[in-house]
Symmetry: C2
Subunit: 393 residues, 2 copies
């Protein structure tokens, strides 16, 4: 293990903490841009409560609404323009992963010179990371991405339908206000996709990280076991606030770096899925639910012992043969995803097998290494990616 880790975000967690938004925002500015999505925060009252809290603290607010799922570069540019024009000095993301990711990049767009897409790796074009951003406060309304307490964002360029990732120090939120009450109105399907998303953040590093990280392994297993215990309760009864809180805390730690510290892991399943949700209107978590089990069966062939550890520690599988244990574990994992209502086949998402080559090519365009392979364990060629996707048809 050899690594660096730093995460300066201040985490404020608990039911009712939305009421502290104004007090917290006041530490960073006087005029906030509130970034929102499709309007659910208007319907459930969260937006009004946020504005009231800001108002009480003497922070004025303008809104940048309508950030779409799989947020687009043009939306980010629009938000940056609003923040600049309105002289906002703090950006508040009130929404799910798409809203938080978009808001982070908007906060950096205010200072970024040139084409915003240059922040993101894409094909041969050089990448120039953002180095400065307005202070960001995240207020997640969904337990899923972990974006509230990390420095990453995923944006889609609608011209090329390429989805890409940026991670930069200036994108760490100053504060994350994580109020599980905001998630009680999330419908069962979106709740389930969020659970799949958070678990996949964990499995990526568990299966693709470096060897010799036993603490991180145990942390990873702990998050998965907790998500599998409380996630179904949140799906079954959205008003179960304890289940919502435990699921949401699991989603925070699943991608704030605590579990992955030192694993130095690529995220191949995410890279493949991004290609799907860039081209098709599917939820990221649903796409992951399709790709991950298929990828696991592919990868288990090269590292059965690792997948057997997963099977034994998560599902208590007792088979002594590693490969048999591994495959039973993956079956059980896929069955869990189905049990909470996640799709595990492309066809369930309305995606056929016509464009498998294109998905693989796009994946490698964004995330391929110099040898044209997708980093992970094992490294994947275009043919490997197609094989995984074909297994998920």
């Amino acid at each position: 293990m050899k690594f660096e880790y730093q995460n300066p975000t201040r985490m404020i967690f608990g039911a009712g903490t939305l009421l502290r938004l104004g007090e917290v925002a006041r530490e960073y500015g006087n005029k906030a841009m509130i970034v929102t999505g499709g309007g659910s925060v208007k319907r459930n009252g969260a937006f009004d409560r946020a504005v009231a809290s800001l108002d009480e603290a003497g922070v004025s607010a303008v809104e940048c609404s309508g950030v779409e799922p799989n947020p687009r570069l043009s939306s980010v540019a629009r938000g940056g323009e609003i923040a600049r024009r309105e002289s906002c000095d703090v950006v508040i993301a009130l929404g799910g992963g798409s809203v938080m990711d978009a808001a982070k990049v908007m906060a950096a767009a205010v200072f970024y010179e040139g084409d915003l897409w240059n922040m993101f790796p894409h094909g041969q074009a050089a990448r120039r990371l953002p180095t400065r951003a307005l202070p960001i406060i995240t207020v997640p309304t969904l337990a899923a991405t972990g974006s509230e307490m990390n420095s990453g964002a995923v944006i889609t360029d609608e011209k090329t339908m390429i989805k890409s990732f940026v991670g930069a120090k200036c994108l760490y939120p100053k504060a994350a206000i994580v109020d599980p009450e905001l998630t009680v109105s999330v419908p069962p399907d979106q709740t389930a996709y969020g659970i799949c998303d958070l678990i996949t953040h964990i499995t990526e590093a568990y299966f693709n990280g470096v060897d010799g990280t036993p603490v991180q392994d145990r942390f990873a297993e702990g998050v998965i076991l907790t998500a599998m215990e409380y996630g179904p309760k949140a799906v079954a009864d959205g008003n179960d606030l304890d289940a919502r809180a435990q699921t949401q805390w699991a989603s925070v730690v699943a991608l704030n770096g605590w579990v992955q510290a030192g694993t130095l892991s690529p995220f191949p399943v995410h890279m493949i899925e991004h290609t799907l949700s860039a081209q098709h209107d599917i939820a990221h978590g649903a796409g992951l639910s399709v790709v991950n089990p298929a990828w696991m069966r592919f990868a288990a062939k090269t590292r059965p012992a690792r997948f057997a550890q997963f099977a034994r520690r998560i599902f208590g599988i007792t088979k002594s043969d590693d490969m048999e244990a591994a495959l039973e574990g993956i079956d059980r994992f896929e069955a869990f995803l189905r049990s909470i209502g996640c799709p595990t086949r492309l066809s369930e998402c309305g995606i056929g097998d016509e464009l498998l080559d294109r998905y693989a090519e796009d994946t490698l365009l964004v995330a391929g290494n110099a040898e044209g392979q997708l980093p992970g364990r094992p490294m994947m060629t275009k043919a490997d990616i197609v094989e995984v996707l074909r297994a998920a048809v």
Copy 2:
């Protein structure tokens, strides 16, 4: 769960990272005060390598040596005086928990007005937390306290022989350089005490935290299981660098707040132990090894289910009766401590039963609440503390 968490410390982990000290220190200052303990870093070459790294980066250094185990207020005052007199602008702690704790308070002492002991709670005197400190860089040479990545310090006032704790935002190190190679020369007994120390940080919150923290429970169990797997290897062969690295990472996460986030836990076993090591020349980890099993047997009577969970998840105990499982788990835990060479009786530390009342009174003086009880689950009276200590005679 309702809590706040923030930890800005930059963690640099891995064998050989001591070589980066100069580069890192240069970000914070030009003249460093290096705080050291009894001289082991001189004998094993770490001090010279640290100075060479600083020198190469253009950072000059003065030394504050001789910080004793269970560091004293007078040493802290001396260090603050050196830093002030020499116009140091960064403080580097090169040593174990005592050195790191002392260095943190020295860095704050430079700016603190009035009696340094006022930083610490002690009896009726009001506490005034430090609000400013020189930049601190920790370079631990022992896997134990977790002080390298948190904002706490424990200091003994030699006039009263009271040991007390301070935690303040300004005491977070700017960076922690955690190089497991620095721990290979730690002798087996000190290695074992460090393992007990780190595990006790975990058990405190596991048994005294609020209900309903399942992710934190799993994290806690993961750290204990890892420490129990790799710790004995580090005791048996100090040159096993992988065992040293895993043990040290376990010690970092055992007290950087990741496991305890949201548990809002008091640390009663530590509070009782501090009284012992303030009055007797024993290692903190050895004292914990004596107090913890005795405390566990006392506390299990009020919460058998919790201790049964520990027994089942850590030791795989299958007894269905909670109390029986709990007691077997505690027996197994005590046996583990003995297996790595830790004492579990006061008499093994040369401490008799003459002063049990005094230890209990001192504990309540530092850590008692308004009702004269020691916070924890259960709350403890003076008689309870004496009962625990008597069971450990």
